[in-house]
């Protein structure tokens, strides 16, 4: 598929609604062909950011650049972006083929040509058999494929996805996630995907942009963000991290790097009481609380747990290798 892959750049982009600032001077560069996930809790400004890139929300200040063009004042279709909506926004009165051909029809492409092109796209997402159906006659996963075909039919340089997997059941979500990644590789264009699920972001993204309160907290590959959380917020949001206060500052230790040992016997480490044990199959989660109120969560492989099973109320010593201690900025 010939596509004009292009870089996407945000320069101090601001979105304000009266007094409220939804997006606060966000600067970001997404190289061409990147799978980028905008990650964050609800209300962090990730959707507003996406909608400003798409052109469905006016930009209060700053610039959005795609390739070498500042697209601030261009209508959505002239930016070279295409958006896939949260509930897919398929036209209920049009069949699958006409839904996919819709952007071409708007551009004045003749019927035969646009139907042929829609057919190609539907073949690509494995939906050619359903061309005559109405959206209401499709399952959630099928609707998503149609929405994807419609978004890609105009050969966009950047595809914007607004929580594309949130409407699906968990089983389908994992499958469609893999499909999204595959389409991104096949088309070679940038996907900007908004999600509040860190699991989704880690599975998909080349580049995770973690946002909070209208600002970017951290940008990096999933491994960088997970292994080297810059702030307390990042460590908390990515999960599986223990945040340990150390004077004014605090540091993070991954839950799977904690070592437990029987408390009595002068072993080095922090003493804690087991408050909960959760069996997860391959691993066991052990929750503990120290005398000073710090909570710990240890994720132990099942075999490791079996060597020294603990029960609620047991006293244990928690400790970790010095290299696993990761300092947090705030």
């Amino acid at each position: 598929m010939p596509n004009r892959a292009a870089d996407l750049e945000l320069a101090a982009v601001v979105k304000s609604y009266g007094e409220t600032i939804a997006v606060d001077k966000v600067s970001l560069k997404i190289p061409a062909g990147t799978y980028c996930c905008l990650l964050g809790p609800s209300g962090c400004g990730k959707t507003s950011t996406l909608r400003m890139i798409a052109g469905h929300e006016s930009i209060s200040d700053g610039d959005v650049m795609i390739g070498n063009t500042i697209v601030n004042d261009l209508p959505p279709a002239r930016r070279g972006t295409a958006m896939m909506f949260q509930n897919y926004a398929l036209f209920p009165h049009l069949n699958v083929r006409d839904n996919v051909a819709f952007p071409l029809k708007m551009a004045g492409v003749g019927k035969a040509e646009r139907h042929q092109r829609a057919g190609e796209l539907l073949g690509m997402v494995d939906m050619a058999r359903y061309a005559e159906r109405l959206p209401a006659q499709l399952s959630g996963g099928q609707q998503q494929r149609v929405a994807l075909a419609r978004a890609l039919v105009t050969n966009p340089t950047v595809l914007l996805l607004d929580e594309p997997l949130s409407a699906l059941d968990p089983f389908l979500r994992v499958r469609m996630r893999a499909e999204l990644k595959r389409y991104q590789r096949d088309f070679g264009i940038s996907f900007v995907h908004v999600t509040h699920s860190q699991e989704e972001a880690m599975a998909l993204a080349d580049m995770v942009v973690l946002m909070n309160d209208g600002r970017i907290e951290q940008v990096g590959s999933p491994r960088e963000v997970f292994n080297a959380p810059r702030t307390r917020f990042v460590a908390q949001f990515m999960g599986s991290h223990n945040i340990v206060p150390d004077g004014e500052r605090s540091f993070a230790v991954r839950a799977d790097r904690l070592r437990l040992s029987a408390s009595p016997g002068g072993v080095a480490g922090t003493r804690a009481t087991v408050t909960d044990v959760e069996y997860q199959g391959m691993t066991v989660n052990v929750a503990m609380r120290c005398a000073d109120g710090t909570d710990f969560l240890a994720t132990l492989p099942e075999a490791e747990y079996d060597r020294m099973p603990v029960a609620i109320g047991d006293e244990v010593a928690v400790d970790w290798a010095a290299a696993d201690r990761h300092e947090l900025a705030a």
Partner: protein, 323 residues
């Protein structure tokens, strides 16, 4: 393909359930199902009774009476087509010039189409404005009420209130003459086709507005954005998304307006200065002379004509699919 996991997961338990069901339990389940179906009919009965008593029965009576015989002092049950022949008396013979019946129908249908087109344009435009250009729900409700509250007053009052405005010495003529725009008062403002159409539009626009507004409020706003994202201009969004998705409301509003105009004789009488014929007026006059069978035959013809118009309009959209 994506549905297989769900159906695959759902069907085995169902098979297992059926297999494990003892025969006694099975018959109990069947009879319970039969009883619930009977229950559903009972639940529908009150409404069906009302429908039968106040809709079907009168219609049947009208149909039956339309075949009866009458003279100036009596009405006798019969099965003759005299009344229908009477309605169209001399109509075929006098063609191509129109007989009274044809001329009356033509005039009524002319008003019907004029009013339908005007209320459609007005109703659609106002509904579109309310649904897509007013941002807050409170303001939408307030403005919708502003459109609807005048309908709490009597039809006749709202009609008559036009007279001081449109009359020979009415407000509009005074302004026109006073400002020197015209030398003599404009005659066609009142007791004319114009006055009738104006009054109809005034009376009936809400019947078009409300169903269309209802349809439009249900349109998912993300569809409009999706259309914009696909490069649609404002007019293209209107034509390709808003109008197709408002068709249910347009059809329902059209049915209201068509039936109300086709059956009307008061508005045409008052605003036409009793000078304009209408099918409703003909029926009204016939009943006042106690020519009930003739009036009934006329009513049946009117009903068929109205159903014909509605049928044409519903071909425009399959209404049952949307309801």
């Amino acid at each position: 393909m994506t549905t297989t996991p769900t159906s695959g997961a759902a069907s085995p338990p169902r098979i297992a359930d059926a297999a494990m069901l003892p025969s006694g339990a099975e018959t109990a389940a069947t009879s319970r199902r039969r009883r619930t179906r009977g229950g559903a009919y009972w639940q529908a009965a009150p409404m069906a009774l009302v429908f039968l008593l106040f809709f079907v029965l009168p219609l049947v009576v009208v149909l039956v009476v339309s075949f009866w015989q009458y003279n100036s002092y009596s009405i006798t049950p019969a099965f003759v087509f005299d009344n229908y022949a009477g309605v169209f008396d001399g109509c075929l013979a006098s063609l191509p010039s129109l007989c009274t019946t044809f001329a009356t129908y033509l005039s009524t249908i002319k008003f019907c189409l004029l009013v339908w087109a005007t209320t459609l344009v007005l109703g659609f435009t106002i509904a579109y404005f309310l649904a897509f250009h007013i941002r807050t729900t409170t303001m939408q409700i307030v403005l919708a009420l502003v459109c609807i509250i005048p309908f709490w007053t009597s039809n006749v009052i709202r009609m008559i209130s036009w007279i001081p405005l449109l009359g020979r010495n009415g407000l509009i003529n005074q302004i026109l003459v006073g400002s020197g725009l015209v030398d003599h008062p404009v005659e066609w403002l009142l007791y004319s086709d114009f006055a009738v159409t104006l009054a109809f539009v005034h009376l009936l626009t809400a019947f078009m507005l409300v169903p269309i507004l209802n349809s439009m409020m249900r349109i998912d706003r993300s569809l409009i954005e999706a259309a914009r994202d696909a490069g649609a201009s404002g007019a293209q969004v209107l034509w390709n998304v808003v109008i197709p998705l408002s068709k249910t409301g347009i059809t329902i509003g059209s049915i209201f307006v068509v039936t109300l105009v086709m059956g009307d004789f008061i508005t045409i009488g008052v605003m036409g200065g009793q000078q304009i014929a209408s099918v409703g007026k003909v029926i009204n006059v016939q009943t006042s002379y106690l020519q009930f069978p003739l009036a009934a035959a006329n009513a049946v013809v009117l009903l068929i004509a109205t159903l014909g118009i509605i049928f044409t309009l519903t071909r425009f959209i399959d209404i049952r699919k949307e309801l």
